[in-house]
């Protein structure tokens, strides 16, 4: 077996793909598989025990979002939240404003309502830094604009979008505002009142909760049609028997995440990320994606950096680093598991070659100095090796 592939001493720097469950999350979920297995809709005591657990989780989520408990809807995760926002609000004749750097759960839903659904869609492009300028959103407004959907933190670059300014524009225009906060939840404070959004989607597994569960903030009075119909679960906003262990896990993960927001965890992660980033861009032919015109990074979540390595095929570098025990990602996985150049980086104006030559490093909040040391040790070596065999490099440098 090649070195590094055996699972020993692995460094995981792909937290934006998913995160491991924290031990306390596993513990919190444990009783709800076998002992407290009841259906939260049942009248009997077994059911009531499940109902109580779901309600407690709902209270924690309300605290995370800064909203009322009745405004929290549990679902299956970020994709469902994004789909529900678009499919649940938009009707033929409406207009949607979103951005070209959204997650595909928004982009594909936009394509569907825009295609056969008779909805006009405007995709606002970011600035080269990865930031969406609020005025670009304002410029896209039409009288029939019904929904604005913008992500809070970008999954590829970590760049934080100016959602408060966009929220004001939405309010002035009388449009609904949905925020995909999947990559922001747990990493920065969320306050739906201050942002002024009507809908906000998060996913548990990006913040050390279980996969397949998420939550959505739905502001009272928002005329959101449910995506799934059936029983009267979640106040008729999302049918289907509650995923009780999942919801409990999400609640626990959110509780821990709120503590982490206040105990300096993310300052520590930011320092690690900055050391990693600085170390990597000192190599020749590298640079940061997501920098402003002054070359400095724009406001980002603390754990993410996205770096280009010229004369390198990002896909091969991901494999090479994996075999050295380092998990990172480049671009987005296509149908077969192969990599496509990131649509986010392309929208920021990178050419295809540089987009393909870019890698995302996203640190877990448990990342250590040793992790960063290891990555800074093996990456330059892997990049050198790749450049040595690259025909592009041979032609340009040799």
């Amino acid at each position: 077996m090649p070195p590094g592939a055996s699972g020993a001493a692995r460094v995981y720097m792909d937290a934006n793909a998913t995160t491991p469950l924290l031990p306390q999350v596993v513990e919190a979920m444990r009783p709800f598989w076998t002992e407290s297995f009841g259906n939260a809709s049942s009248i009997h005591l077994d059911g009531q025990r499940a109902r109580t657990a779901v309600d407690q989780a709902r209270e924690i989520l309300a605290e995370l979002f800064h909203c009322h408990e009745a405004e929290v809807v549990f679902n299956s995760g970020g994709t469902e939240g994004d789909n529900t926002a678009l499919f649940g609000l938009l009707r033929p004749g409406d207009h949607l404003i979103t951005t070209s750097i959204e997650h595909s759960a928004v982009l594909q839903a936009a394509r569907r309502v825009g295609g056969g659904g008779g909805v006009g869609v405007t995709y606002v492009d970011p600035e080269p830094s990865g930031l969406i300028h609020p005025e670009a959103i304002r410029a896209a407004l039409r009288p029939e604009t019904r929904l604005i959907s913008v992500m809070l933190a970008n999954n590829e670059t970590g760049v934080l979008q100016p959602v408060e300014a966009i929220g004001k524009i939405a309010a002035e225009a009388g449009a609904f505002f949905h925020i995909d906060a999947v990559q922001a939840a747990g990493k920065i404070p969320l306050d739906v009142r201050r942002i002024g959004c009507h809908l906000l989607s998060i996913s548990a597994h990006k913040m050390h909760g279980p996969k397949g569960v998420g939550a959505m903030f739905v502001r009272r009075g928002t005329p959101l049609e449910p995506l799934l119909v059936g029983g009267s679960h979640e106040r008729r906003r999302r049918a289907g028997t509650e995923n009780v262990p999942g919801i409990v896990g999400l609640g626990k993960a959110a509780e821990v995440a709120m503590t982490s927001l206040e105990d300096g965890t993310w300052d520590r992660v930011a320092a690690l990320r900055n050391r990693l980033e600085t170390g990597l861009v000192t190599m020749s032919g590298t640079g940061l994606n997501g920098a402003g015109s002054d070359g400095k990074p724009v406001t980002r979540v603390a754990n993410t950096t996205n770096i280009w390595f010229d004369h390198v095929e990002g896909e091969a570098l991901v494999i090479a680093l994996d075999l050295k025990g380092v998990a990172v990602s480049g671009g987005s996985a296509c149908h077969s598991g192969a990599t496509e150049p990131s649509h986010v980086l392309l929208a920021m104006g990178l050419d295809k070659t540089r987009a393909r030559a870019s890698l995302r490093f996203s640190l877990l909040k448990t990342a250590s100095e040793a992790d960063v040391d290891h990555v800074l040790r093996v990456t330059p070596e892997a990049v050198e090796k790749l450049r040595a065999v690259s025909p592009v490099a041979a032609g340009t440098l040799g």
């Binding site: 077996m1 090649p2 070195p3 592939a5 095929e313 896909e315 091969a316 570098l317 494999i319 090479a320 994996d322 075999l323 296509c334 149908h335 077969s336 598991g337 192969a338 990599t339 496509e340 892997a382 090796k385 790749l386 040595a388 065999v389 690259s390 025909p391």
Partner: protein, 372 residues
């Protein structure tokens, strides 16, 4: 930890490459599985009669990637899918379309092997720290110290011989390439697959060209050009005999290949075959079966394997298409440097421009080139 000499195995999800990977892994070699994603099978599906759902057993279908992944899991080896769709389109699909539109009959598998597969595999392998690659091709590759060259030979299973598609391999490529199946027959390979407990041991072989589901070239050309916003060039013209007599008209030269009998749409007391396609005048010449026979062949873009170059006439057997029994000929250098001329002992039927010709000395591949 010192790095051992890793082998990157090209895994297509078929029996052959899976078994090759299993044999190397069992021999204790450090192995990494790679699948080159070359063509999105859903891309033109449903257009112009192309089947909606690709059948199983086709390269690059999701089922095949799943199969390859499962084999890798079973063998406990790392496995990755590498996206080469853009390169494949540029280096294989585009030239294939251009050749067809120019009235020739291309061999995309040789194009792919010559210009993409081995280059990309070796490059990806090196960049991840593997110095050698292995594939499930039926061929033998051995170093001959006396001649100082890597020699490509016909495999044990002559019915599965794939050397015809491998004539373009350079010495540098052969030096880093393993063909673990070269000394096995297909039934032995299936037996080996069963012995390793591979679930795909009974999976049928894929025969068709990977990016043309259903094997209908014309459907593919039409759908591809439409997708590209291009129109099929107007190549309708006359159907003539070799003496110049006009028998009728045809709808476009890309409907024809040398030796073709069906679809000529002219009445004749004796069967007629396509003898020649002239891309300039769009004229298609037809004639009797015996008129198809040619005694010489010119080929260019020649790659030599068992010899460094051809300096004097050489007796070889020449294979002019995949299912052709190699025929005796004398090979001589051509007018240009990368050209050769083969003079057959007995005239051969339907020597087809665009196909490859491969020269054999016994079991050894001397070299090969593209028929002019």
């Amino acid at each position: 930890m010192p790095e051992r000499d890793t082998i990157a195995v090209a895994m297509s999800g078929g029996v052959d490459s899976s078994t090759a990977a299993a044999m190397l892994a069992q021999a204790g070699e450090p192995v990494v599985g790679l699948t080159l994603q070359l063509w999105d099978q859903t891309r033109l599906a449903g257009k112009h009669g192309i089947p909606d759902a690709p059948k199983a057993g086709r390269c690059c279908s999701l089922d095949d990637v799943y199969d390859a992944r499962r084999v890798a899991r079973q063998l406990g080896i790392p496995y990755y899918v590498v996206n080469q769709e853009a390169r494949f389109e540029q280096d294989v699909v585009r030239p294939f379309v251009a050749e067809y539109l120019a009235g020739r009959t291309p061999v995309p598998c040789s194009l792919c092997n010559n210009h993409l597969k081995f280059d990309q595999l070796l490059q990806t392998a090196r960049s991840i720290g593997a110095s050698r690659i292995a594939t499930g091709h039926y061929a033998i590759n051995e170093y001959d110290a006396e001649r100082g060259r890597w020699i490509l030979k016909r495999p044990a299973d002559t019915a599965k011989d794939q050397t015809y598609f491998l004539f373009g391999l350079t010495q540098a490529q052969l030096a880093h390439t393993l063909f673990p199946l070269g000394r096995l027959t297909k039934p032995e390979v299936r037996e080996e697959a069963r012995r390793h407990g591979l679930a795909l041991a009974e999976k049928p072989d894929s025969q068709e060209i990977c990016f043309i589901p259903g094997g209908n070239y014309k459907q593919f050309l039409t759908a591809y050009l439409e997708e590209q916003g291009e129109t099929m060039p107007e190549t309708a013209g006359e159907l003539v005999t070799s003496t110049g007599e006009v028998l009728g008209r045809h709808e476009g030269i890309s409907n024809f290949t040398v030796g073709q009998r069906k679809g000529l749409k002219v009445a004749s007391p004796t069967p007629l075959y396509v003898l020649q396609i002239d891309p300039a005048s769009h004229r298609v010449t037809v004639g009797a079966d015996e008129d198809l026979a040619t005694s010489t062949l010119r080929a260019n873009r020649v790659n030599w394997i068992s010899i460094a170059e051809l300096t004097e006439p050489m007796r070889v057997k020449v294979k002019i298409r995949h299912r052709h029994e190699p025929a005796w000929a004398t090979l001589e250098p051509g007018v240009r440097t990368d050209e050769v001329v083969a003079t057959f002992d007995e005239a051969q039927r339907a020597v087809t421009p665009g196909q490859s010709s491969v020269f054999y000395d016994g079991d050894e591949v001397v070299g090969g080139g593209w028929i002019l």
